[in-house]
């Protein structure tokens, strides 16, 4: 029922892409050898969808996320976020775009340890020089289930709580897209579930676009679409919510092919 409705909406807005990658290539020079991390990736991420990016280590999934998020610049090709071509922006322009249109959640080291949870959530808006009503911060924390923990510093929060503060902070600017890099990598199973349900909920309720890199089939099973990367190329794709077993099977066959 709910997903059906979401589906019709998606069909009607088919051209609305939050992030587009056009023939993105990223090479690194290491010890006089050229490493090809991304080898011509073209794909789009529709608004209001949850995409998981999977692949064996070294497949380029993190590089894909960095390029798509404007943290790193592609060697070749074009990245468009919310209609803006990143290639046309300078460092400050890129920073401003990240600040306004993009949210991040990392595996660890997510919060500024000197600031309280509330201050961490507030940080992107303060950096942008925007006034914020205290209720807005409280609402944002309440949304991730931390209404009563706002005054605590990261050192007094559990790993799961820290991750939820990071999600609240990523969403405070109402970004076009939320990037998550192994958001459950440092968490136990139960806390992981909690964080993943929270992400899924954001997509369903707020039509938040989420792009998540993970190596955990269970985490990927929360996504609407799973992209499989190997050697810097998209080699497979699962559309529609898939079970963890199915994702796992695809991964296994991918790794078998790689050998």
């Amino acid at each position: 029922m709910c997903s059906g409705e979401s589906g019709t909406w998606l069909e009607g807005m088919e051209s609305k892409q939050s992030v587009e990658l056009w023939s993105v290539r990223r090479t690194y020079r290491a010890a006089a050898r050229e490493m090809r991390a991304l080898d011509g990736v073209t794909t789009g991420f529709e608004a209001g969808t949850f995409t998981a990016v999977m692949g064996p280590s070294g497949s380029g999934k993190s590089t894909l996320l960095h390029c798509a998020a404007g943290l790193d610049r592609p060697t070749e090709g074009k990245v468009v976020i919310d209609g803006t071509d990143l290639g046309t922006l300078d460092e400050t322009g890129l920073t401003l775009l990240r600040r306004e249109r993009v949210g991040f959640v990392f595996q660890a080291f997510n919060l500024v340890s000197a600031l309280t949870a509330e201050q961490n959530v507030f940080l992107p808006l303060r950096l942008a020089g925007k006034p914020v009503a205290p209720e807005e911060i409280r609402t944002a924390l309440a949304e991730v289930g931390l209404a009563d923990r706002g005054g605590h510093r990261p050192s007094r929060l559990s790993g799961g709580e820290q991750q939820r503060v990071a999600i609240a902070r990523a969403l405070i600017t109402r970004p076009a897209v939320l990037f998550a890099d192994e958001p459950t990598g440092a968490l136990d199973t139960k806390t992981s579930r909690h964080v993943l349900r929270l992400l899924r909920d954001l997509v369903d309720r707020r039509r938040q676009t989420v792009i998540m890199v993970t190596h955990d089939p269970v985490a990927a099973s929360y996504a609407d679409r799973v992209l499989f990367l190997a050697d810097g190329r998209i080699v497979d794709e699962l559309v529609g919510r898939a079970g963890a077993e199915e994702v796992s099977a695809r991964m296994t066959s991918l790794e078998a092919r790689a050998c």
């Binding site: 401003l96 990240r98 990392f106 080291f109 340890s113 000197a114 006034p131 990523a170």
Partner: protein, 808 residues
């Protein structure tokens, strides 16, 4: 809300939360603020002062002054005896002037209970009225052989007292006691023993208009002198006081500058270290939308927060300590006695601002580096240490080292004042160059120094060796402050000691003496003391050209001059004596050429025609005058030392205030007042710089040890005992100090050798390289203690808490 405010408040929050990380910067800034505020308060208080003993004369008349270059305190030419009488008459005739009293001073040092008392200034009795000091008991000294003494000496009228004069000890009868310092002789005897008169004080009748007398006195003396009244009388400050004040000023200025620049250096390195360890956090800030500018602002915010607190606390403490510093300066001889410190609000406000500026300046380069952190660094696992050394750093370091070595070579051939500046330049270039190249130099040196460690059976040696090699950057940056401390200490103390030794060596080599007679508790050697055991000596005095310019001169004897084997380039030493003098070539070029007869003013104001008998290149002074001529015209002149050519007498006659040292020990005896001041100053500089770099050493080692907490935990989990883990840390910090010491010596030794060669060339005498080893060892020991202590202290927490730590 202001945008810059985010950075600032973020910085504030960081400082509040992680104050331990800023302890190093705080300590450096705090120390710097104390030093700058205490020294500048003392500096601003150090104005000329009217001596107490002239305070009662409302108008002072002094001799005309010649233009002097900065730092030159040669005396002004005194009036001639006839002039004094004429001026005295003219001044006394001014209405309202009760008496015009010439100030006659001489050397007179009473011996109480066999020990010469400290105050050695004798005056004519009439001068006592200038203070005024009054008789407390007995009568005034009326004839030769009578003396009035300060009542604090405890001598009763009628008793006998020994007084050292320039001729030697003399017996006097105490005629009375006075309520002020000094030794007072009858006017007649004082006129015979004193040099010339340079000041006449006017004692006015009560209710006289001082301004009227001032202007009348100006008319009365015309160009023959200067007139001062009211506060302007401070111009009559004794030259010796002015000189001491000037030396003190130099010392304080140097210390302030050293303190401020060291604070910048330490703050800069502390912040650089902090930024390096927090790259991930800056990356995170960049990722969530902070512009490079906002990241820079947050580092400046941290600096500002630390700076404001440290500077306010330091300035306040400095103001409290300033009077103590004032007393210390007087005790050390850097300020004339009677110097008092006054605290001024505006100077403290200035110091406070300087402290903040220093903090911001220190954070400058670190903030730029923080601003360049890419947002991707938020995702990296840990701060990696294998960033290569940038080419620009290698080039700059290499250039500076080459410049330094070239400087050492130039120093070896330089002469005069250039010697010291070249030496300092060499040192600065080498220190900066080696600090820049340290990451390159460190691995081979560490490999060499730790080779035996790797062979040991225990694990500690191996771990230390490998971890020092693995993180070269850390090893190098912790060794850098040690390099600077040791290099600076060896260099500065070695330079001072070698320079002092070289001049003594030069003097001793001219004389070829076996022992030296030195003053002991007295102002100088009297004729009697300087003749002990057949010693010979020179009498320092000043000669005056017709234009009033002073020329330093020595009174010497012909026999000794001939014995010294001096070779005249013109004329003959045989003709020295009577009114015939010997000069150096530069004096000969200025109108005192061979065979010329020149009118020369002496210390007593008399003018004598002297004939130049010879010109000698390597004369110990500009001009040599026959000793008895000097004695006749400068009755208070004292020798600084006397040389015994043959065997030293077994017993020294008592009561002369002398001691005898062997010639080879002479170089090490800092008997000379200037040497003593320079030495104290040097030790102070070393102490201040060691204090600073000490802070730097402790900070970098504490930060490095904190950053290695995880390594230590791994070490413990691999089976190391807590003791073994801590020993690893301690040995590693010792290794760092050894590395720094080696590099420091590598800086100092070439510079000193260059300087020694230059000095030997200049003085044409072999110069010993004197290193004050105990002082240097103290500095190295201080570094060792601090490094090991700081590292172990920090590591202990990591080692202790590892059991209740889970993962992150």
């Amino acid at each position: 809300m202001l945008r810059g405010g985010v950075g600032l408040s973020l910085g504030l929050a960081t400082v509040r939360e992680r104050w331990t990380a800023f302890a190093g910067s705080f300590a450096a800034l705090f120390l710097g603020a104390i030093l700058v505020s205490a020294t500048s308060t003392a500096l601003l208080s150090a104005g000329p002062r009217l001596p107490d003993r002239l305070a009662g004369a409302q108008v002072l008349v002094t001799v005309p002054a010649v233009e002097r270059p900065e730092g030159n305190f040669s005396p002004d030419r005194p009036w001639s005896p006839e002039q004094v009488v004429a001026l005295q008459d003219r001044l006394a005739a001014i209405p309202g002037v009760e008496r015009a009293v010439p100030d006659r001073s001489l050397y007179a040092q009473p011996v109480v209970d066999g020990v010469p008392v400290e105050d050695h200034r004798g005056h004519a009795w009439s001068s006592a009225a200038l203070a005024p000091y009054r008789l407390v008991s007995g009568t005034e000294p009326r004839q030769a052989g009578q003396v009035a003494l300060d009542r604090s000496l405890g001598r009763k009228p009628g008793t006998r007292v020994t007084v050292l004069t320039a001729r030697g000890p003399a017996e006097y009868t105490v005629s009375g006691t006075v309520d002020g310092p000094g030794v007072y002789l009858s006017d007649g005897e004082a006129a015979r023993l004193a040099g010339g008169v340079r000041l006449i004080g006017l004692l006015l009748a009560p209710g006289t208009d001082v301004a009227a007398v001032d202007s009348a006195a100006r008319t009365a003396i015309g160009h023959d002198g200067r007139v001062f009244s009211g506060r302007a009388r401070v111009a009559a400050e004794p030259l010796e006081d002015a000189r001491i004040r000037w030396v003190g000023m130099q010392a304080l200025t140097a210390m302030s500058i050293l303190a401020a620049s060291s604070a910048v250096f330490v703050t800069a390195s502390a912040f650089a270290f902090g930024v390096a360890w927090r790259r991930q956090e800056f990356g995170l800030l960049r990722a969530v939308g902070a512009t490079p500018r906002q990241v820079r602002a947050s580092v400046y915010g941290e600096a500002l927060a630390v700076g404001v607190v440290a500077s306010a606390a330091g300035t306040a403490l400095g103001a409290v300590l300033a009077p103590v510093l004032g007393d210390l300066l007087v005790a050390l001889g850097f300020q004339p006695s009677g110097f008092t410190v006054r605290v001024r609000a505006w100077s403290l406000a200035g110091c406070f601002l300087v402290g903040i500026a220093v903090a911001l300046l220190g954070a400058w380069s670190a903030s730029r580096r923080a601003g360049r952190v890419s947002p991707l660094e938020a995702l990296r696992e840990a701060a990696a240490d294998e960033r290569p050394i940038p080419l620009s750093r290698k080039i700059a370091g290499g250039l500076l080292c080459v410049l330094g070595l070239a400087g050492a070579a130039v120093t070896a051939t330089a002469g005069g004042n250039e010697l010291v500046s070249f030496g300092l330049f060499t040192a600065a270039a080498l220190i900066c160059g080696l600090a820049l190249l340290a990451p390159l130099i460190a691995p081979p040196v560490v490999r060499l120094a730790t080779w035996p460690l790797g062979r040991l059976r225990g694990a500690t040696g191996m771990i230390v060796r490998e971890s020092a090699l693995a993180s070269v950057r850390r090893t190098a940056s912790t060794a850098a402050p040690v390099l600077i401390t040791v290099g600076f200490a060896v260099l500065v103390t070695g330079m001072t000691a070698t320079t002092a030794a070289s001049f003594d060596a030069a003097r001793a080599s001219v004389i070829r003496a076996e022992s030296v007679v030195l003053p002991d508790g007295v102002a100088g050697l009297s004729d009697a003391a300087a003749g002990v055991g057949g010693a010979w000596s020179t009498l320092p005095t000043a000669l005056y050209r017709v234009n009033g310019e002073a020329v330093p001169a020595l009174g010497a004897e012909r026999d000794h001059l001939l014995a010294a084997g001096l070779k005249p380039s013109q004329g003959s030493l045989e003709d020295f004596g009577g009114n015939n003098i010997v000069v150096k070539p530069w004096v000969a070029q200025q109108g005192w050429g061979l065979g010329q007869v020149v009118p020369v003013g002496f210390e007593d104001g008399c003018t004598v025609s002297l004939k130049v008998a010879a010109v000698v290149d390597d004369l110990p002074n500009s001009v040599l005058v026959p000793r008895d001529l000097v004695r006749a015209h400068d009755p208070s002149a004292l020798a600084e030392e006397a040389f015994i050519l043959g065997k030293a007498p077994d017993a020294v006659p008592g009561g002369l205030g002398t001691r005898i040292v062997a010639a080879e020990d002479y170089a090490r005896v800092m008997s000379d007042e200037d040497d003593r001041l320079t030495w104290i100053f040097t030790v102070l500089l070393v102490a201040v710089s060691a204090g600073y770099t000490g802070v730097a050493i402790a900070t970098t080692l504490m930060t490095a040890a904190a950053g290695r907490a995880r390594d230590l935990v791994v070490l413990r989990l691999s089976g190391a005992t807590a003791g073994q883990a801590l020993r690893t840390v301690a040995v590693e910090s010792v290794l760092v100090v050894v590395l720094g010491t080696l590099l420091g010596l590598a800086v100092a030794i070439p510079t000193l050798l260059g300087m020694r060669a230059g000095l030997a060339e200049q003085l044409s005498a072999p110069v010993p390289l004197v290193l004050p080893v105990p002082l240097i060892l103290v500095v190295i020991g201080f570094c060792l203690l601090l490094a090991a202590g700081a590292a172990v202290f920090t590591a202990r927490r990591a080692v202790r808490s590892q059991t209740d730590r889970s993962g992150d």
